[in-house]
């Protein structure tokens, strides 16, 4: 009940704010604190202890009651300063496919002591806890189901703590405008990508592909393992990648119209599957969507560009 009231009050006091530029430092005036339900229950227990002390004239009972009451008061200070001066930055928010779980990352640093049991949560979601050590960056990852393609916006986050004794809830809000891009769910039933060329690619210009061995070049992160020159590695020449030339005819184009599915979302799923397949095979591929055209290419950056185009096609509303 208290949680609900607090939520309503908080919603009224802290109406939607503009996302802030990182880093956010939890300065003293943006930290709020109220007793928890456990705190109110503690106060009730103290009242009973006090009445028992009065009734039986127990001096040590008074001492116990006052010790616990004072402990509660001191705990309020400790809870509050467990958040004070923490520095927050947006963390990694990797893209996911629809149907997977999106993770919003937030990093926390402390300027002084280690802070224990600092939690961050999205509204109504289970919080994620972290201990923030001096000299280390604590990474908190907030899961959220990604149902549809497009963007999942994280929205306002609550950072809170109840450490050390759980009698008080100290909290603050922040909003970095974090979002995760959700790619369409790949439709594996669509089968292999179509191999016919739609390109009017000019003949004679070598395009990186995998048809014809061209040369060895130093390995770059992300090169497919099957293009690594294992023999060269065995000869002690280090990691080298075999570079092939693709002929224009082997270049793939994935077109909106090729994905013959009933509705646009299914088409995007099919295209998504083809992009992943082509990338897996090391093929060069291009993508044509209504209003967008991505020239053929390969590699992680290209793949990401294509998947983003699929994810954001038609500018779906953020979830």
């Amino acid at each position: 009940m208290f949680a609900n009231i607090r939520q309503s009050v908080a919603d009224w006091i802290f109406r939607a704010a503009v996302p802030e530029a990182p880093p956010v430092t939890l300065v003293q005036r943006r930290i709020f604190i109220l007793p928890t339900r456990q705190g109110y229950f503690f106060a009730f227990t103290l009242l009973l202890l006090l009445m028992a002390s009065i009734n039986y004239t127990l001096s040590l009972g008074f001492l116990l009651t006052f010790l616990l009451a004072a402990m509660g008061g001191v705990a309020m200070l400790h809870t509050w300063r467990n958040l004070a001066h923490l520095k927050l930055r947006p963390g990694h928010c990797p893209p996911v496919f629809a149907g997977e779980t999106a993770h919003f990352g937030v990093t926390i640093e402390t300027p002084s002591r280690t802070r224990f049991a600092v939690a961050i949560r999205r509204r109504d979601a289970e919080p994620s806890y972290a201990d923030v050590e001096l000299g280390n960056v604590a990474v908190v990852s907030l899961p959220s189901a990604a149902v549809r393609r497009g963007r999942v916006a994280c929205g306002r986050l609550e950072i809170f703590t109840r450490y050390p004794v759980g009698l008080f809830h100290a909290w603050s809000y922040f909003d970095f405008g974090l979002q995760v891009i959700v790619y369409p769910q790949p439709d594996a039933s669509a089968g292999a990508p179509p191999t016919q060329s739609h390109g009017e690619a000019e003949e004679g210009i070598p395009v990186p592909g995998d048809d014809e061995f061209n040369q060895l070049r130093p390995y770059h992160a992300g090169d497919p393992p099957r293009q690594i020159a294992w023999k060269a590695l065995a000869r002690g020449q280090g990691l080298l990648t075999k570079e092939f030339n693709a002929t224009a005819s082997s270049e793939m184009w994935f077109d909106w119209n090729d994905a013959r599915a009933l509705d646009p979302e299914s088409r995007l799923s099919v295209l998504c599957h083809w992009v992943l397949e082509a990338e897996r095979m090391g093929q060069s591929y291009g993508l044509r969507l209504p209003g967008t055209s991505i020239e053929p290419g390969r590699g992680d950056a290209h793949r990401t560009r294509c998947l983003n185009a699929l994810a954001l096609h038609g500018d779906p509303k953020p979830q």
Binding site: Q38, F41, F42, T45, L48, L49, M51, A52, S53, I54, N55, Y56, T57, L58, S59, L60, G61, F62, L63, L64, F66, L67, L68, A69, A70, M71, G73, V74, A75, L77, H78, R81, A84, H85, P111, S112, R113, F116, A117, A119, E126, P127, S128, Y129, A130, D131, L134, G135, N136, V137, A138, V139, V140, S141, P143, R162, Y163, P164, V165, G166
Partner: protein, 662 residues
């Protein structure tokens, strides 16, 4: 570093957390185990073990119907053990049983919290039985354990070490102590009780009773517990004059002497009273009404008390707590020469004359033979002195005619035997007599000159009314064992028990000194902590300068003020520690290092970089080279290199501290 943590509810019942809670519970209940029936201890231990086993082996909790039946069964067992469910002893036992059952079915965070709060209650229940310093310290440790348990349950997503539980909890309690003290001293005290105390709330208090039958004081003598303490304003009077008057017993039925409801005293009765003695008594709770004072109490009385016709001081409320009062007494007196006929008859009553015929006959014969009261008294005392033996373990007497049995058969006894038989003999001889019970003497603590009176000092003596002299005190025990009257119980019986003989062998050595020091500490504890009540608070606040009229508004103001000041200081201390450090700690350390070298004439020139400077130091003072290079290396790394961790900064700072340039 951390990633995702499982939901709080799952983490809450982490095995180690549960074990901390079980341990704290076991510790807080331990002092009770000597007081409750043995099966309760076994029951509690078994439940704790069961709960621990559930956690270790991830066993299922017992079904609800089972715990319900067990709880009901245990409650019934408590009822049969005590004959009731309410009251102090039965209530505490029931609470222990319930706490155990709650532990057994504790599954959620909320139930854990409930158990911890229940633990605080169990701490409180211990105080119903004792408020001594050792128990206080022990239970403070228990509170620490409970708070540490609470801290452990807040460390969601991590398993804290022992240190990480105990240190924050200890810090919380340490910082709470000044606030606790302020609240304790200033919180408006209400005179309890708020509701009727259970009948056995004061069970186990020892002390004199309202009746005296041969045998009940000698039981008291075995008890070493404290009766009261006295602080004299001047010199402590001689041991033999320290007769602390308690219940005065007039009524006699043949075997038992009883206190009667005598009329309140209207006028000060003494004809002659000189050399008043001033002192303050701190009396332990007895649950009874009387207060103790030296032989003839003066005109000032403890607040809330009256003095009776027979000079017995009675408190209007039962003495349920330790109370302190100031008294004036006259040791040199004569009083009440005019003695009303009604009381005279009462003081001559022989009870059921058929019960002690031989004693009565002896008294009547003395009256016929000797006539003079003084001669009769002497005759009786001589008889005791010649034929009787003082012993703490007297033979059992015939209940029907105890004094005949004592005077003519066993002739071995204790103060109550002598006082009872002597008073009866005097009454039979026509001399009005009454019995006074109370304490004789006490033990002086040389460290604070406080007189400690124990139950072992309990005593009974006789007062006789003599024509022309009024009431006089006669102590027949003195005729048998003068040492008891002159030097106390230890002198009369020799050391009792190992502890006493140890102390006796060590007359003014370390042991007795320690014992006296402990008494002083205990006395202060009782005065200022356990005995801190409405009156004490008033007295303390007046000393603080709050004036005579202390109302609750004034108290609230002071309480609020001191809470604000103390809380503010704690907050300030905490926040200052949190302020981001200004300046570069490595630079500060380096400056200290340079200052040390400047003192021996090796000042760093403004153009000199740290490395050049160190080369120069190494060139001029080779013996400093190693230390200087090490410091410089670390400083350069911290300030111009990759930076330094807090541990490395501490190390740099330590090296600079250790650096000696001479």
């Amino acid at each position: 570093m951390s990633a995702l943590a499982p939901p709080a509810a799952l983490r809450a019942l982490d095995i180690r957390n549960v074990f901390w809670l079980l341990a704290a519970m076991a510790f807080v209940i331990a002092p009770h185990l000597l007081r409750v029936p043995a099966w309760v201890g076994i029951f509690f231990a078994a439940i704790i073990a069961w709960r621990g086993w559930i956690s270790i082996s991830a066993q299922r909790f017992p079904p609800r119907w089972f715990t319900t039946v067990l709880t009901f069964g245990a409650s019934v067992a408590v009822f049969f053990a005590y004959g009731r469910i309410v009251g102090r002893d039965a209530g505490v036992t029931l609470l222990i049983v319930m706490a155990a059952m709650k532990l057994l079915e504790m599954r959620t965070q909320r139930e854990v919290i409930l158990c911890i709060y229940l633990g605080f209650f169990l701490v409180m229940t211990n105080f119903l039985f004792s408020q001594s310093i050792p128990l206080g310290i022990y239970l403070l440790a228990c509170v620490w354990l409970f708070v540490a348990t609470l801290v452990g349950f807040q460390r969601i997503g991590a398993t804290p070490t022992v240190r990480e539980r105990l240190v924050p909890a200890g810090l919380l309690l340490l910082q709470a102590l000044p606030l606790m003290a302020a609240f304790f001293l200033l919180f408006p005290r209400v005179q309890g009780p708020l509701w009727a105390l259970p009948q056995d709330a004061r069970a186990g208090m020892t002390g004199l009773s309202e009746t005296m039958t041969p045998g009940n004081i000698s039981k008291l003598i075995q008890s070493d517990s404290l009766a009261f303490r006295v602080q004299f304003e001047d010199k402590i009077p001689a041991y033999g004059t320290l007769y602390w008057r308690g219940p005065v017993l007039w009524g006699f039925d043949g075997s038992t002497w009883r206190a009667n409801e005598s009329a309140p005293l209207r006028n000060a009765p003494y004809e002659k009273a000189e050399r008043p003695v001033r002192y303050a008594v701190t009396v332990e709770p007895t649950g009874k009404h009387w207060l103790f004072a030296l032989d003839i109490p003066g005109s000032t009385l403890p607040p809330g008390s009256t003095i009776r016709h027979d000079l017995q001081i009675r408190s209007t409320r039962p003495v349920d707590t330790r109370i302190r009062y100031e008294m004036v007494s006259y040791l040199d007196y004569a009083y009440d020469e005019k003695f009303p006929q009604m009381w005279r008859n009462y003081a001559l009553s022989l009870g059921d004359e058929s019960r002690n015929p031989q004693t009565i006959a002896l008294g009547q014969q003395w009256r016929a033979d000797l006539r003079e009261p003084a001669a009769i008294v002497n005759r009786a005392l001589t008889m005791f002195n010649r034929e009787f033996t003082y012993t703490l373990e007297p033979p059992l007497l015939d209940e029907r005619s105890p004094y005949d049995d004592f005077l003519f058969q066993t002739k071995r006894g204790f103060c109550e035997h002598y006082a009872g038989s002597f008073a009866l003999l005097m009454r039979a001889a026509g001399i009005p007599a009454r019995i006074v019970t109370g304490y004789l003497g006490g033990d002086v603590n040389p460290l604070n000159q406080e007189l400690i009176v124990r139950q072992a000092d309990a005593h009974a003596w006789v007062e006789l009314w003599l024509e022309g002299r009024g009431w006089i005190r006669v102590d027949p025990t003195g005729a048998v064992s003068p040492l008891r009257v002159e030097g106390g119980m230890d002198a009369a019986l020799g050391p009792i028990g190992a502890m006493s003989s140890l102390i006796a062998a060590d007359k003014l050595g370390v042991l007795s000194r320690m014992r006296y020091a402990w008494q002083v500490v205990n006395s202060e504890w009782d005065q200022w902590v356990v005995g801190y009540n409405v009156d004490r608070q008033r007295q303390f606040l007046q000393q603080l300068g709050m004036g005579v009229n202390i109302d609750w508004q004034k108290l609230a103001l002071w309480l609020g003020g001191s809470t604000f000041v103390i809380g503010g200081l704690i907050a300030l201390g905490l926040l200052l520690r949190d302020l981001p450090r200004r300046g570069d700690p490595s630079l500060a350390a380096w400056k200290r290092f340079c200052a040390k070298l400047a003192r021996i004439g090796l000042a760093r020139a403004p153009h000199e970089g740290p490395v050049d400077f160190t080369e120069r130091v190494a060139g001029t003072r080779p013996e400093l080279e190693r230390a200087a290079r090490e410091i410089t290396e670390r400083y350069v790394e911290a300030r111009y290199g990759r930076g330094a961790s807090p541990a490395q900064l501490r190390e740099l700072s330590r090296l600079v501290r250790a650096f000696r340039a001479a």
